[in-house]
Amino acid sequence: MKNSLQHLNPKIFDKDVEKVPIRKGFGEGLVLAGEANSQVVGLCADLTESTQMHLFKAKFPERFVEIGVAEQNLASVASGMAAMGKIPFISSYAMFSPGRNWEQIRTTICYNNRQVIIVGSHAGVSVGPDGGTHQAIEDLAITRVIPNMTVISVCDHIEARKATLAVANLGTPVYLRLAREKTAVITTDESPFEIGKANLLYGTPDVKADVGIVATGALVYKALLVAEALKKEKISVKVLNVHTIKPLDEDAVLTLAKDCGALVTVEEHQITGGLGGAVAEYLATVRPTPIEFIGVHNQFGQSGTPDELIEYYGMGEFSITNAVKAVLKRK
């Protein structure tokens, strides 16, 4: 059952659950962050409306810089602005930033430990028809590996808004991952959100369950659907929403491993290097636990609708359900 402490959307399991693009929450959150702190600035690489930074631009035109199609410059200009006390948010498609400009992010932002928020939108395969070139499914891996970096991957537009506001006050380099597709609204304004604190959305705290799902991003919704459906098959499932991939909420992951004894990780990303990797690396040292990994298996994406691609690459409800049953047998 839903964890009542999380104040989730009461209509989450309804067929007509409201769906909103995650990036919309970023656009709204950036305006709020800009109102709260005059040092917040926005930089974009020719994708202002697409990444929803146009709302900030309209409100604070003097604090917006159009960099043009130049993501390497985007990252390093932001680093320079941060050196002068600004809090720059830089937005593009995740494939181009942090994809194209990885070394600039490493050296000019993270090596200098400057507060720049890298907003990668259209992450995962959900950019759909654009095809594999535009589908960033390696971005969590390449950002998570850099020292000083905080990595956030939000599950809906409300969480995106909260995360945007929170990272403006964090003081470290941040990667904020956003998806394009309209996503079911999971949380509400009342739901708790704290960077570095994973939220148990499904299942009762301190009560054991058969399997724990550790999920991030838009696929948290599918994990919840699976957990709800498996009730009928008498399989109890807990769902932990890990919006902060780094630093990982180790306590929450360890508790889940102890309560369930078997885990499934779920992410719209390569199965290597992302959330699943982070969970496995941690548990291997403290409590080796059977894990099944849901994600893309060493492939590039292709054109299609987001739903077609999620199913084809093994990240849909069918695949998650099978993974739960498979890991249950390994307990």
């Binding site: 600035v41 390497q72 410059n73 680093s79 320079g80 006390g85 070394e103 600039q104 050296t107």
Partner: protein, 298 residues
């Protein structure tokens, strides 16, 4: 701003002392770059001892001018000049490139916070200087009294990111941004015009909308006058293409790309003095100003 003859003599002697420090540092380190640091010693000396608004006793003074070193591999000249300017004891220069030293092989702000940025991977310094100048203008308008000096190597301009930054600086009309290009015509693999031709470099910048100056990078008056003219341009960025002699001051190193990334005294090279003699010759030439005076050290 103009230089008196006395000040020119002062800068000349200071630059020579800094070159001696550079050789001593590289010898102690056993690795590092020789040609670029020696070639840029006159410009660094002029910046720190005549042009920059800075205070070595208050290194994080908010009002200071910013000097952004993009080609981090020439950091021995930055470290040596800043030590001579009083930022830290000159004895520390001999820790260059050693374990736990503040003076990392390429500058890292975590170890050496007096650097405005960490650098080493080429092509990213100019973007950061553009960002700094943009932020300053947002806060203080076009009449801010801070200048942003960015130093880039000529071979470094092979990196495409520079040209992204060059376009943005012109678009944003950053009048407080002044870039020095160390036009020494060498890079690791050879002469710049063989590796990737840059000429006509000044015209390239000009066509991108920049104010351009082209000077002899070893003439102190030329350096100061070019900076003065660049400072007077308030509605756009300026570049000073400084023709320098790589390895300046050590005869066997001058204009020879073999010394881009090598220190003296480490290996025998075809056409060069034997390695046992390299350091002695270098220090002798510098201490005697190329044989013009007698050295009290010998």
């Amino acid at each position: 701003m103009d230089l008196t003859p006395g000040k020119v003599q002062f800068l000349k002697e200071k630059a020579n002392d800094i070159r001696i420090s550079i050789i001593e540092m590289l010898v102690a380190a056993g690795s590092g770059h020789s040609a670029g640091p020696l070639g840029m010693a006159d410009i660094f000396t002029t910046l720190y001892f005549h042009i920059l608004k800075h205070d070595s006793k208050n290194p994080f003074w908010e009002e200071r001018d910013r000097l952004i070193l993009s080609n981090g591999h020439i950091c021995p000249v930055m470290y040596a000049t800043m030590a001579h300017a009083g930022y830290f004891p000159k004895s520390e220069l001999l820790t260059l490139r050693k374990f736990k030293s503040r003076l990392q092989g390429h500058p890292h702000r975590e170890f050496y916070p007096y650097a405005e940025t960490s650098s080493g991977p080429l092509g990213a310094g100019l973007s950061q200087a553009v960002g700094m100048a943009l932020a300053d203008r947002m806060d203080n308008g076009v009449s801010s009294d801070r200048f942003f000096y960015c130093l880039v190597g000529d071979g470094e301009l092979n990196e495409g990111q520079n040209w992204e930054a060059i376009m943005l600086a012109a678009k944003e009309r950053l009048g407080k941004l002044i870039v020095f290009v160390d036009r020494n015509n060498i890079q690791i693999d050879g002469y710049t015009e063989d590796i990737m031709p840059l000429e006509s470099l000044s015209h390239k910048f000009e066509s991108f909308g920049w104010h351009t100056e082209e000077i002899d990078g070893h003439n102190f008056s030329s350096i100061v006058e070019a900076v003065g003219r660049a400072q007077a341009v308030f509605d756009g960025p300026s570049v000073i293409v400084a023709r320098t002699i790589p390895g300046k001051g050590v005869s066997y190193m001058e204009r020879d790309f073999k010394w881009h990334g090598a220190p003296p005294g480490i290996s025998d090279m075809k056409g060069e003095p034997p390695k046992a003699e390299q350091v002695k010759i270098a220090l002798h030439e510098l201490r005697t100003l190329g044989g013009q005076i007698k050295s009290e050290h010998e």
